[in-house]
Structures are given as C-alpha cells and as structure tokens.
C-alpha cells in the first residue's frame, strides 16, 4: 500500500522526532543523487524523484524503527552516509523514497591496540578514524581517494578499496565484524574473531551490498602498525603498457607486497607526471612500507625485477613521494573541481574493472580505442592499474569530455553511459569483471546478469531472502525483475 508523502513524513516524525526528519527541498535534491549525476548537481538540475525525507538516524534502534516502518508500508529506503558513491547507488529511483542517513552515528566505539582492531559507528569518517589511530602509532591501511569525506558504513557497503591495497587488501580483508539492520528491522551482529569456518562467511553478504540488502550500523576493522619512516618510493618511466603490466605481474608473482604498485598510461600519466615524464611515457610508481627490513627488501626486490626491463628508466623517488602525498581529495579539492566543471563543462569520469594478467592489456587497449573513436568531444582518455593481485590486476579508466550542445541532465545518456557500456562490453568479452571497487550502483546493473552468468541465482536468492518486499535501495545491484 503506497503512503502519501505527507503520511510518510508524519510517520517518521512520530518515530524519531521532527528534528531527525529533514524535508528541506535543497537537502532532498542533494540527497536524490550521488556523484554519478554530479553534473546535474553542479548545475542545480535534479531529475531523480524527490525523496519524501532524509532521516538522520542516531542509533541502531532508530534504524530498526525506520526499516520496520518502511517494510510495513512498502517505502523505498536508500541508505547513505558520506555520499561519495559514484555509480548511482544513492539515487532515489522512486518518488517519496526515504533516504536513511547514518552520518550522525559518528562515534568511535573502541580502539583495541592489543587485538589490533577498531570499532566504529557507520557515520565515522575514515579520515577521523585514521587520524585517531595514528596518534597511537597505528593505521587502518585503508586509503581510498575519498578518505577525507567517506564514512565507514558506505566504504563497507560499496566493498571499497584503498591506495595501499596491494599490502593491506581491500575493505573485505579489513573488516573483522559488523552490525547491520535488515529490512523489517532485524539486527544482525557478526562477532570479532580472526577467522572461522562455521559455514560460509556471512560478512560477505553485507560487505558490498550497497544498501540493497541491509543498513550497516557498526563496523570493526583491523589495525596495523604505522611506520611511515620506513616508506620507500620508486618510480620509472617506460614506453609500453604491456611491459608495465608484466613488471607488475612479476612483482606480485614473486611475493612482493608494496603498498602502492601503479602503472599509468601516457594519457593518465600526463595529468600527474608531466613534470618529469615525456608525453608518450607510461609511469610505474611503487611504495614499500612496513617494518624497516620488510620495506627495504620489498624495494630491493622491485628494483631487481624492474632492472630486468631495459626500457624502464628510474626517476627520483622524491617525485613519487610528492605525488603520493597529494593523492587524496578533501572537500576543498572537490569544490575546486566542481567549479572547474561548472565553468568549462569539461567532465572527468572513471570506470574501473579487473581481469587476469593474460587479458588485461587487450581489454584496456580495445576499450580505449573504442572510447576515442566512438564517443564525441573526448578531451582525455587513459587509465592506470592501481590494485594488483597474484592472478591479475585492475584497470581504472580515466576520461574527460566536453559536454557540448547538451543540457546537464542529458550528459549521462549522451556520454557517460555509452562509455560505461563500451568498457563493460570489452571487459565481459575479455573475461574480466565489470566492476573492481566502485560498486554496481544503478549504472552497471544492465550488465549484472552477464557478469554473474550461471551464478546469478545465488545473488538473486540473497535479495529474495533478505529483502522480500523489495524496499532496500531499489534499482541498485538488482534488476527490477529480481525485486518482487
């Protein structure tokens, strides 16, 4: 039974109090989108259905109340914390949705330096946690570019990954335990133990669910010693991406775990390294960290591997260190970029995929060639590999285009989705995964069945089991035919 907007708002106010239910139109507009429609947001054009309210939950109990209410009345709920998602996962697909915002749940509950884990509420910004544990000589090891503004709840919900993943892993390797509330208001706490084999690992039902199954209220993550004094930076220029991928592969296969291992193609390198790289240069960048002996051995091992490739020319480590120190984007950087986009109508987008070593170069080359030839108004197209594994790596396509003769609300259809389509097609054709760490959101849902193939029924079963009334973030991850 569909409730009216007014009835929804009144019901929420009765549950949580008026001060926790925001109905200001400007707030609702911003809450109806994420970075997928950043151009619309920048130009103040909002095309998504307006939510009924943004509810600022202050506790797990309040999340329970809201989800129970929503489930009872068939109201679409969009979980949200830092709002830095990029694939439309936070868009309100239905009129009078409720955006359930956990950013008020911002307490650091416990920092356990003996068991090396920290427990926080979902609305704790990662930078806040990181700063706090660094005071104790520790680090979370998690450093996505959005670190200054992203919150732990969203980082877990999107199965995020950080710049140091080659050493510390992705968020899935860092999460120890968590608490989540499912549709209908059922609370699940997964305890903090180092490992268990008591059936499948149910944390992975929550990690990466993008709010389509549950609302994450609390997270416990691992901590690591923070030893920046031992950081070593290595950089090389080279002409061939193929060579670069082979260098990365050998670093990983030989067991080295630098925290940063990146390969930039000439287009992307031009944005970061033009002060020392030629226009046709690729760039390899490494950082080794950890205990002094480990860092030294890692650096020495990488140097030995790269030394076997004559075309790789070393550059001063300080160049890489300085670049590395400026990788993360804070609110001021975002504001500056938004102003640049507003003035120039030149939009920067990224799409990341992953594939085995034997496939990644062909996927990269085929996708890039198609982007440049099929999409109009491209001003830059390139990419870099930034997360490597023993069996493959990711490719982070980075591209800019001018929005020409096109209102802001049509930019996604004219440019962004066609590019995503090219990348997903080439990736699936090459046997890779269409999404490495940004999440499916709503943008890549058209390819989710092909992504999963015969295993899709397993994903489908999760939705039917945990959200039988289909109230959790409609349109995210699951196609509409999955939602009953």
């Amino acid at each position: 039974m569909h409730m009216s907007r007014e009835a929804i708002v009144e019901g929420l106010r009765r549950l949580l109090g008026a001060e926790s239910v925001v109905t200001d139109e400007e707030v609702l507009k911003h809450a109806s989108v994420d970075n997928f429609r950043k151009l619309e947001d920048i130009f103040g054009v909002y095309t998504r259905p307006l939510p009924a309210a943004v509810v600022m939950a202050g506790s797990t109990e309040e999340v329970v109340e809201v989800l129970r209410f929503a489930d009872e009345h068939g109201i679409n709920v969009v979980p949200r914390t830092g709002g830095t998602a990029t694939e439309g996962g936070l868009e309100t697909d239905e009129p009078n949705s409720v955006v359930l915002d956990g950013s008020r749940m911002n307490q650091i509950i416990d920092i356990d330096t003996y068991n090396m884990q920290a427990t926080v509420q979902c609305g704790v910004p990662l930078q806040v946690l990181e700063d706090r544990v660094r005071e104790l000589g520790m680090t979370t090891g998690h450093s996505p570019q959005s670190k200054p503004v992203a919150h732990l709840g969203g980082l877990v919900a999107t199965r995020s990954i950080g710049q140091f993943s080659t050493l510390y892993g992705g968020i899935e390797d860092m999460v120890v335990g968590l608490e989540a509330v499912f549709a209908g208001g059922r609370v699940a706490r997964i305890k903090n133990v180092p490992r268990r084999a008591a059936g499948p690992d149910i944390r992975h039902i929550v990690i990466g669910n993008e709010g389509a199954l549950c609302f994450i209220t609390e997270v416990t993550v691992k901590l690591f010693p923070y030893l920046p004094q031992n950081n070593r930076f290595l950089g090389y220029t080279l002409k061939s991406m193929k060579t670069g991928f082979e260098v990365l592969r050998q670093v990983m296969v030989n067991g080295y775990k630098p925290s940063v291992a990146r390969l930039y193609d000439p287009g992307d390198a031009g944005l970061h390294f033009s002060h020392f790289a030629e226009p046709d240069d690729c760039v390899l960048a490494f950082m080794a960290e950890g205990a002094a002996g480990i860092s030294a051995a890692t650096a020495a091992g990488i140097e030995a591997i790269v030394g076997e490739f004559a075309e790789c020319q070393p550059v001063e480590g300080k160049l890489i260190e300085t670049w590395f120190n400026n990788l993360c984007w804070g609110p001021d950087d975002i504001a500056h970029e938004n102003e640049r986009i507003y003035q120039t109508k030149n939009v920067n987008r990224t799409t990341e995929i992953s594939a085995n070593w034997s496939r990644i170069y062909d996927i990269y080359e085929n996708a890039l060639r198609r982007i440049v030839t099929e999409i109009p108004d491209i001003t830059m197209a390139g990419g870099h590999s930034s997360h490597s594994y023993i069996n493959g790596t990711n490719m982070y396509f980075n591209y800019f285009y001018n929005v020409v003769d096109c209102p802001p609300e049509q930019e996604v259809d004219k440019y962004y989705l066609p590019i995503i389509s090219i990348i997903c097609e080439e990736t699936l054709r090459g046997g890779g995964s269409i999404v490495h760490h940004h999440g499916l959101g709503k943008a890549r849902v058209p390819w989710v069945k092909e992504e999963y193939g015969s295993s899709f029924f397993m994903l489908e079963a999760l939705k039917q089991a945990f959200d039988p009334h289909g109230i959790m973030n409609k349109g995210t991850i699951f196609p509409s035919d999955v939602v009953k």
Binding site: H272, N346, V372
Partner: protein
C-alpha cells in the same frame, strides 16, 4: 586586433608540505618534485582572450561581415607568450589546440624569476616585435611576485595599464568594455587603443579544454622559441636571480572551535549560549 597574453607556469606550491618548504629555505629545490600548473590569474587572462575573440567573431558573423573584414576589432588574433623552461610546452600546445594563432616561449630556466624589470623588458620587446595591440596577463604570479611587471611593461610600451580587471567584452562600437575591481566595488570603462590589462579575480578562472581531435589537428604546429638576445636582453643583463633570503610560514588558519556530535537543536543552543550571547552582551 592582435592580443598578446602572457602567462607563467609555476610549480604547484600547494603540493608542498611544510617540511618541504623548510628544505626550500635550506637551499634545496623541492619545487622540481611537484606538478606544474598555470598561474590562476594568467589562466583567467587566457580564457578571457578566447571569449573576446569568440564574441567578436560571433558578432561579425551575425552582422553578415566576414570575420577577417579588416575593420578595427573585426577579428581578434591571439598570441601567447611565456618565459620559462620546456615544462611550459604542454601548456603552449594546449593553447594551440584551443585556437591560439601562435605561441612562443623565451627559454629562461628561473633566471628572471625575481627580476621584474628584465621580465617586463622581454614582454615589451616581444609585444613590439609582434605588433600587438592589447596585452593581457595576470596581475599576480604567485610566490615571489613583485606585482610590478604589468606596470613596467606598460611604461616601456607607453600604454595605459589597468589592474584588477575582472571582465572584458567587445562593445558594439568596436571598443572594449572593461570591468575592474576598485575598492569595495567595481568600475567599468570603455577602452579604445592599446593597453596592458592585468587580470585579477575574474569570475572566469578556468581555461576551456581542447578535445583530442583539436590536439591532433594542431600537433604539427610549432612553438616559437625566442632567445633573450633576440629581444635585446643579454646574458650579462641577467643577474643571477635574487637569492632566497629566508622563508617564514604565515599561519592563516582561523581560530575556531568545532561543535559536533549532538542534535542540531542542542548545537544551536550551545552556539547561542556559549559564544554569541556573550558577544551580544558586550556589544
């Protein structure tokens, strides 16, 4: 009209941390490790020049006249000049791709960084050499800036000079309508004839971006390298840049207290009772 726009490519000083600045003070050239960026005021000047040309051509086309009609201000030719090393070349190539008619660089790796008189001589000489009618540049060039170059150039050329320019438009009569910051407000005037316009905090602060196709079309176009001697500046004139005498960190952080963690109503009450009310009582 021949417009010359001068710009400077600088290290991205914001990428340097306090520890890096300490090393700079001790004589280490930490700036070589950071990315290069356009001086923001020069960037405004470059974009304003493009917009001026677009507007003039659009007006001419709309009036049914050919763009190159030869009528005063009937067309705008754009030329860009920078003094510096080859790290400025990517920016010059970008300008060619954006439609600048010619770009030039005077090779001088930091030699003129703290020599406004010589810098002005170079720019003025180039303006004469290229018969430019209008000269645009930013009114500030970053750390170490003297603020004198626009005025010294104007003095050398015998032209008017206006600083703090925020807007530049072609007027119907073929003159230029200028807006500039004056005190707390703005002033406007019509310019006829040659002038040096130093661009300040313009609303337009970002240079447009050329497409890959634009870049491909202009890839074969060259950058004009002009030696100092060709502009009448001789090596013996280039005194070694004034050395860095010292660096002092200016703490621009605003004092503040962060209130968080409570419902908005409680925060508002705290703000009023603990911070605003005492101020109101004393005022």
């Amino acid at each position: 009209m021949k417009v010359l726009v001068c710009f400077k490519v600088t290290p991205d000083y914001e990428a340097l941390r306090p520890a890096d600045w300490e090393r700079v003070a001790a004589g280490s050239d930490e700036t070589k490790f950071v990315h290069r960026v356009l001086n923001v005021f020069d960037e405004s000047a470059l974009e304003l020049a493009l917009r001026l040309r677009d507007a003039v051509r659009q007006a001419a086309a709309g009036a049914g006249r050919a763009a190159e009609s030869g009528v005063a201000y009937g067309d705008v030719r754009l030329r860009a000049l920078t003094i510096g090393g080859h790290d400025a070349d990517p920016f010059l190539q970008t300008l060619l791709a954006l439609g600048y008619d010619a770009v030039a660089r005077v090779p001088a790796n930091g030699a003129l960084d703290f020599a406004p008189q010589l810098t002005a001589s170079v720019i003025a000489a180039y303006a004469r050499r290229t018969e430019s009618d209008l000269l645009l540049l930013g009114d500030r060039s970053g750390p170490g800036d003297s603020g004198l170059v626009p005025f010294l150039v104007a003095e050398s050329l015998g032209w008017s000079c206006l600083s703090g320019v925020t807007e530049l438009r072609a007027s119907a009569e073929g003159a230029l309508r200028l807006t500039w910051a004056a005190g707390e407000g703005q002033q406007r005037a019509t310019l006829r004839g040659s002038a040096v316009l130093a661009v300040g905090n313009a609303v337009v602060s970002c240079l447009r971006v050329p497409t890959l196709t634009d870049r491909l079309k202009t890839r074969g176009l060259g950058i004009d390298l002009v030696q100092l001697e060709d502009l009448g500046v001789h090596q013996q004139d280039v005194v070694a840049s004034s050395g860095l005498a010292g660096l002092e960190v200016v703490d621009r952080r605003r004092a503040g207290v962060i209130l968080d963690g409570r419902p908005p109503a409680t925060l508002a009450r705290t703000l009023l009772d603990d911070y605003l009310a005492p101020l109101l009582e004393t005022s």
